[in-house]
Subunit: 127 residues, 2 copies
């Protein structure tokens, strides 16, 4: 099952913060977001995700603790593949060129990417 946009936002929290309660996630969402998201809204979404198998939950204590089932890297790769296929005709490099071309990437990030490329060139790596 493929996560919706809202579910993806929650997955991101779980990925970056690790196993979390609904309250944790909800607070995290409201830190950044402009519009207040109700607690039960987050709860419901996470319950739905649990039903879909996107997250697992530990219900042994009263306040359930949720964890992402899909590892971040795997989910991102799948989504990336699909996205590149449908909107860049399968060419990752065209996509990358466009992504970097908007001038919003910091020098540090550029340097990091460059380093990765050099690395890839060096050993003809395949994952």
């Amino acid at each position: 099952m493929q996560p919706t946009e809202g579910e993806l936002v929650i997955l991101q929290v779980l990925w970056s913060a690790g196993p979390s309660t609904v309250r944790d996630v909800n607070e995290r969402l409201n830190e950044s977001s402009s519009k207040e998201i109700g607690y039960t809204t987050t709860l419901k979404l996470m319950q739905l995700m649990s039903g879909k198998g996107l997250v697992s939950r530990d219900t042994s204590s009263r306040t359930h603790v949720y964890s992402a089932v899909l590892p971040e890297e795997k989910a991102q790769k799948t989504l990336l593949r699909r996205f590149v296929d449908t909107t860049f005709g399968g060419s990752a490099s065209r996509m990358v060129l466009r992504a970097l071309g908007d001038g919003k990437t910091s020098p540090e990030e550029l340097a990091e990417i460059k380093k990765l490329i050099t690395q890839l060139e060096k050993d003809g790596n395949n994952d």
Copy 2:
């Protein structure tokens, strides 16, 4: 205004085929798609897009001819932004690292990307 998923599909037809009638687009959609899409569905969508300014139309003859207003490149950028936000927490560089990290990018492409980065680093570009 940001195109929806369905609108994007139509835009892609207009980009690749150039100015088209509703029937043209609808037929194109039904060639590839598994599920038959009704003519008036396509029509309605294109009318909405016209209202939003995503497409323009020549109504001088009875069968209107629609053209994409948004250039492909700009749309891709918007899409990219959305995608990066929802699945990479807004970090384009993390996305790029993931994209290149799957070992499917050819040496030529890597070189090209590297060249772009060098270029960006050189003149502190801001689009």
